[in-house]
């Protein structure tokens, strides 16, 4: 287990460094995809299978495609278009360090070792999703509809005559 964890953690750290250090945004995104895959593996070692699958399908699969699309749409893939001010870099560093400190301090626990419960399995989550969390589940479909309507009417600039038909 420590070997697994070591491999995964090294991958995450190296690819994370790749995200913030590479000069071209496309390379950053490719490193981010590697980082997300490694995080998916980390979720697997914690028995959070559903989270791992969702992580791969949604984040590494879909969201990253969107990121690539945005970079291509905006022509961001040229270093001169990027704002790399010193102030931004230092404030990002400060935020990152304080986040590590806060999360690290919450991880400290005086009462015994952490244990892993099997509640992250797809089976258990499915049972919860269709019984206890049925209201949020159905309402999330309504939220998806709102998102679809929003996407379509935002991207659809009205014609000069004013109507779409």
């Amino acid at each position: 287990m420590p070997v697994f964890f070591g491999i995964i953690a090294t991958t995450i750290i190296l690819s994370g460094l790749g995200v913030i250090l590479s000069k071209r945004p496309v390379y950053s995104i490719l490193s981010l995809i590697i980082c997300l895959y490694a995080m998916g593996a980390l979720y697997l070692t914690l028995h959070a299978e559903f989270l791992a699958i969702v992580h791969l399908i949604v984040y590494a699969g879909a969201i990253m495609v969107l990121f690539l699309f945005v970079i291509m749409l905006m022509n961001l893939d040229r270093p001169e278009h990027l704002n790399r001010s010193r102030l931004l870099q230092w404030s990002a560093l400060a935020v990152g360090i304080s986040l590590v400190l806060v999360i690290g301090s919450t991880l400290y626990t005086p009462s015994g070792p952490w244990v892993v419960a099997p509640m992250g399995s797809v089976h258990a989550i499915g049972r919860l999703l269709f019984s206890k969390f049925i209201v949020p589940f159905e309402l999330s479909a309504v939220l998806f509809l709102a998102a679809i309507v929003g996407v379509v009417i935002t991207a659809k600039v009205p014609h000069p005559e004013g109507d779409t038909e």
Partner: protein
């Protein structure tokens, strides 16, 4: 749950009415569905479902939200300054209201987050609907800051869960440092949604850039729902902590909002800053009981009426001033004056009792400096609201004409009537 289902189905039906000539049918479908779901609120408690908690005060909040939605749907003009009203917009308003009603009756953080997102995501889209640079800027600003506040909310929930191991609200009162800081982060995110002072930067730009019809929604229903949730989350803190936190937010909001509102020339920006000040008074009520619902009613109704009139004037003149409205259209002028008087807090209108009750709560608890700040804010408020009344009565600068549909006039006169009725009700 019945009211939520009716609203969702109405939203889906309206969403599919895609031909331009069906827009008025879509509007009336939405109005009827809203009124049906308003009357079905009392039957919601028949089904009890997990992650949903139906309380008496939650029903009051939900009733207020649905009533305001009916008013907005009746008032919203067919065409504002730049673009026609479409069925998609009405559907988005209905979907956002599903989230708003959910925020009045969540009892689990999942429903809290879902409700907040359901209110926010349609509004991010509606803010961009003018397709002008200002409108896009407003939308993007609102979206990025809103996404950031959602992240803060989630982080706060994680910290709170780390300390208590519970995800239900109302839950155990947090006592240790991690749990309390988690709840403070959650409250900070909610304060962003209602636009209280340390988190108010987005309010003026977003209110100004958004098409005025949708600013009315933002200033009323989105705010009422976020306050309902804010007061519920605040029960997780010990009372003394919450009181001092609320007084800090409230005092700062009243002072800064009023000071900035004095200097505005555009009515929309003035209303944005004054809404910050009003939110300051609102949070001084400390709990989500019937006084808060009353405050929400008084503030939101007046805001909707004013923004509706600004919208009508804007589509004829393309400017955000009300100068000379009284000579152009006496009914609209009178309604605007009454709404402004109500926001000032002068007796026959419900705005008076709303402000009075929040100052009374502070007096009751013995925080006289907060009462002082409130009185100072009211005095400044009287100055800038009455200045706008002077503009309305003044002779018009440009020539313009306003057409108002009869149904909108009837709805607005009814709303003013209810405003006066509820303003007089506490006296009896």
């Amino acid at each position: 749950m019945i009211s939520l289902t009716i609203l969702s189905i109405a939203g889906i039906v309206v969403m599919l009415m895609h031909l331009p000539q069906w827009t008025s049918i879509a509007r009336w479908t939405a109005v009827i569905a809203t009124i049906i779901s308003l009357f079905s609120i009392r039957f919601d408690s028949i089904f009890t479902l997990p992650t949903i908690e139906i309380t008496r005060s939650g029903n009051l909040w939900a009733g207020l939200i649905l009533g305001l939605l009916a008013l907005i749907l009746l008032l919203i003009p067919n065409r504002n300054a730049t673009h026609p009203l479409k069925n998609d917009h009405i559907a988005l308003l209905l979907f956002a209201t599903v989230g708003a009603v959910l925020l009045t009756r969540f009892d689990h953080v999942v429903t809290l987050i879902l409700g907040l997102e359901m209110v926010s995501i349609p509004l991010y889209v509606l803010a961009a609907q003018t397709h002008s640079p200002r409108s896009h800027e407003a939308s993007l600003k609102y979206f990025i800051l809103g996404a950031f506040s959602s992240a803060i909310l989630t982080f706060g929930i994680a910290l709170w869960y780390r300390s208590t191991g519970v995800l239900t609200i109302p839950g155990p009162i947090a006592t240790d440092l991690i749990g309390r800081s988690g709840i403070v982060l959650m409250l900070a995110a909610m304060c962003f949604k209602v636009g209280l002072v340390p988190f108010h930067y987005w309010v003026p730009d977003v209110y100004e850039g958004t098409p005025t019809s949708f600013t009315a929604y933002m200033a009323s229903i989105a705010k009422v729902a976020a306050f309902a949730a804010l007061f519920k989350v605040a029960t997780l803190l010990p009372t003394s902590d919450w009181t001092s936190l609320a007084m800090g937010f409230g005092g700062a909001s009243i002072l800064l909002g009023s000071l900035a509102a004095i200097r505005q020339t555009s009515v929309k920006r003035m209303l944005a800053y004054s809404s910050i000040a009003q939110a300051g008074f609102w949070i001084l009520l400390l709990t989500g009981g019937q006084f808060s619902v009353y405050f929400g009613f008084a503030y939101a109704t007046a805001s909707i009426l004013l923004l509706w009139i600004v919208d009508l004037v804007e589509s004829s003149t393309r400017s955000h001033t009300l100068t000379g409205l009284m000579q152009k259209n006496q009914v609209l002028g009178a309604i605007a004056i009454m709404a402004l008087v109500s926001l000032t807090g002068i007796p026959p209108f419900s705005g008076f009792y709303a402000k009075y009750s929040s100052l009374f709560v502070m007096m009751d608890r013995g925080y006289f400096w907060a009462v002082g700040i409130g009185l100072l804010g009211s005095a400044m408020g009287a100055y800038y609201y009455l200045k706008n009344i002077a503009h309305i009565v003044a002779p018009p600068e440009t020539d313009y004409k306003i057409d108002v549909p009869v149904t909108s006039v009837i709805a607005s006169v009814l709303a003013v009537g209810v405003m006066i009725l509820f303003g007089l009700a506490p006296l009896f």
